[in-house]
């Protein structure tokens, strides 16, 4: 049984993780019954198992959940399957209703937005109001009269 040990800094929820250089280990054997979801494996020939946090087994990828260095080059590792990296096409084929994603819908209110307690004020002035200038205004005189008299 061959496993490949990796170091990855990718978050667990990244589908396509960036992996460091693979270290192939062939001197391995299962501990107990084979559990595809959480396999426990004894590996030999690896002096510092703690530098790895990820491994590949039989075409599937695993987070290295616990490690025990039982000798100078013997370690026991327990894996937890990474379903995203192991089944990327299954993930990619899913059609979903996206709540949050790379495509922003700017006119839908974002419940994650936080607003300051204060608000900003702005003003748009109309070009024309009622001028204060005496030359722009007029008096209107209404009189009782017996018709207009032209000049």
């Amino acid at each position: 049984m061959t496993i490949k040990l990796y170091t990855t800094k990718s978050l667990p929820n990244v589908v396509s993780k960036t992996l460091g250089t693979a270290v192939t280990v062939t001197d391995t054997n299962l501990m107990g019954e084979y559990d595809e979801r959480n396999p426990v494996i004894r590996v030999r020939g690896v002096s510092n198992i703690d530098q790895y946090n990820y491994f590949e087994l039989d075409g599937k990828y695993y987070f290295m959940s616990t490690t025990k260095q039982s000798g100078s080059d013997v370690a026991i590792i327990e894996g937890q399957i990474d379903v995203l990296m192991s089944f990327p096409s299954v993930v990619g084929d899913l059609t979903v209703y996206i709540d949050r994603g790379p495509t922003a819908e700017p006119y839908v209110a974002d419940d994650k937005d936080t607003l300051y307690a204060y608000q900003n004020q702005d003003e748009i002035i109309f070009s024309t109001g009622f001028s204060d200038d005496v030359n722009d205004g007029l008096y209107i005189l209404m009189t009782a009269q017996n018709g207009y008299k032209t000049v």
Binding site: L94, R100, G101, G129, L138, K149
Partner: protein, 537 residues
């Protein structure tokens, strides 16, 4: 389908009811900025339908792109959708009859492209083109031309032929047949005359100026010809005061009525109107001011006062139109409060959906004899297709000028009465009464449900002339505290249905389409749980 401009860039506007006319083979398209469907594997004829009404595209455009605009414009080469880090419009559908490639300014190929006759989706990476001077897509007959087919969704309800913001050069010897009914010259003139800037066009002018046109309304007081209505300058009013009680004038007026009469009894009212000198309609001829039977023509030891009397007792004062910009260009524009200050009336709250991206016009219809009026607010929003006309009562536009003790008493009484009346109106509004709201009619739909701030009393009660006489829109905007870059952590607020493999970046789903679940995978529950909690594609 009609030709239309949007955001300063001309494009062919496809309205919902006519989409199939233009995309007869693309019924799978959604028009909410989502591109759904498999665009690969389409036949030349299919693409031809998109670009040239069933035949090979014949219209050619050369794009001159510089720097980082390149990727953006690459994205405009076809049906577009977001490709995450590649920019806002980065997925282009291409079809090539001659192949395509990226060339530098000297025509030397930089990057190869698709094979001749192929179709597909192209994902331009901004970094690929950042240093390029020219991006040339050849789809017709050589590498120097690009087909006309460029589509983008700019708003939720709009898709169109979009030639990007770069400068096109049309090959005048070619013809284009986008759809029957549109000639090549129409298309050419559309683009050649277009404004190619990214500056959004101002909203279309109001389709209605709002308010009521009083120009043809009969003036009952002036029409009765029992009174004289004279517009006067300040100097003429001063002359009137100086000459009103000359002995000869008093005598002449008394002779006319048979008894000795105070000339002031002939004055019915005198009012001052700020800023309305040019708003009134006058008769053509100069006339003397007449008191009773006596014209002030200078024959009674007084100074003659001549003016052109008012032809109508109504006048319209136009305060103009303002444009309300989309400040945030997102939902926060609609969380903004808009309060319009209307001189001689006070503040009124406006509905954000009515005003954002639209225009507000303000006009007054004023009774020049009573000094009262109605302010008409017309809110026109081409984005939401809202056209709202509101009317608000205004009082005291004309300032009463007392000319004796009785008149002064009348002015004071009127002010007290109107203030008390306004208080009743205010109380009615505060308690949800129908008072002014009912009278305002259409105004009701633009008043905020629960005004939280009183910025002014209803000042249109006869004292507006000592308040501000400049109309203005007070805008109260929320201030976003959300840190920049949060999208890279928790994604953007989305509202779309998509296949996960088409996404790049953080995706948190609300639901999974059952038909796409691979029930053969025994870890499906784990996968779905992860997708519902957010994964990075």
């Amino acid at each position: 389908m009609g030709l239309k401009y949007l955001s300063g860039v001309p494009f062919l506007h496809l309205e919902a009811g006519h989409v199939e006319d233009f995309f007869p083979l693309m019924s799978v398209w959604s028009f909410n900025r989502q591109i759904i469907g498999n665009m690969t594997g389409m036949s030349d004829s299919d693409i031809g339908h998109l670009f040239g009404n069933g035949s090979k595209p014949t219209m050619k455009v050369v794009y001159d792109l510089v720097g980082t605009d390149v990727a953006k414009n690459m994205g405009n080469l076809g049906f577009l959708k977001n490709k995450g880090t590649y920019g806002p419009y980065s997925t282009g559908m291409y079809y090539t009859s001659q192949g395509w490639e990226l060339q530098d300014a000297n025509g030397v190929p930089i990057l190869g492209g698709a094979a001749v006759g192929s179709t597909g989706i192209y994902y331009p990476n901004e970094g690929d083109f950042a240093t390029s001077q020219y991006l040339v897509m050849g789809v017709v007959d050589n590498y120097n031309h690009i087909s006309f087919g460029v589509l983008r969704g700019s708003y939720a309800d709009v898709f169109g032929m979009y030639p990007s913001n770069s400068q096109p050069v049309f090959q005048q010897d070619n013809t284009v047949s986008i759809e029957s009914g549109h000639t090549a010259s129409e298309i050419y003139s559309l683009f050649e005359d277009g404004d190619w800037s990214d500056t959004p066009d101002p909203p279309a002018p109001p389709t209605s100026e709002g308010g009521y046109d009083l120009s043809n309304r009969f003036s009952p007081v002036i029409g009765g010809n029992t009174v004289g209505v004279y517009p006067l300058l300040q100097s003429e009013v001063i002359d009137l005061g100086h000459n009103l009680w000359t002995t000869q004038l008093v005598t002449a007026i008394g002779q006319g009525v048979g008894v000795l009469t105070d000339p002031a009894d002939m004055l019915i009212s005198l009012k001052w109107f700020y800023g309305m000198k040019t708003d009134v309609a006058n008769v053509a001829s100069d006339c003397y001011v007449v008191l009773g039977n006596v014209p002030m023509d200078g024959t009674h030891s007084e100074t003659a006062i001549t003016t052109k009397p008012l032809a109508k007792e109504f006048a319209t004062h136009d305060c103009g139109t303002i444009t309300v910009p989309e400040y945030f260009q997102n939902y926060l524009d609609y969380a903004t409060k808009f309060d319009l200050f209307i001189p001689f009336h006070g503040f009124e709250s406006l509905n954000a959906s009515d005003v954002v991206g639209g225009t507000i016009s303000l006009k007054y219809n004023v009774n020049m004899l009573t000094g009262d009026g109605v302010a008409y607010v017309t809110v026109n929003n081409p984005r939401s297709s809202n056209l709202v006309v509101m009317e608000f009562q205004c009082a005291g536009i004309g300032v009463d000028i007392p000319f004796n003790a009785v008149q002064m008493g009348n002015v004071a009484t009127r002010a007290a009465t109107t203030i008390a009346g306004a208080a009743l109106v205010g109380a009615s509004m505060a308690t949800g009464g129908v008072g002014l709201l009912a009278a305002a009619g259409a105004a009701a739909n633009v008043l905020n449900d629960t005004p939280k701030v009183v910025r002014s009393d209803r000042i249109g009660v006869g004292v507006g002339y000592v308040g501000s006489m400049t109309p203005r829109l007070l805008i109260t905007r929320p201030v976003k505290a959300t840190p920049a870059g949060i999208a890279s952590v928790i994604g953007n607020k989305s509202c779309e249905v998509a296949k996960l493999s088409t996404k790049s970046g953080f995706v948190k789903a609300d639901a999974v389409k059952p038909e796409t679940i691979n029930y053969g995978c025994k870890y499906m529950d784990d996968i779905i749980n992860l997708v519902l909690n957010g994964v990075y594609m």
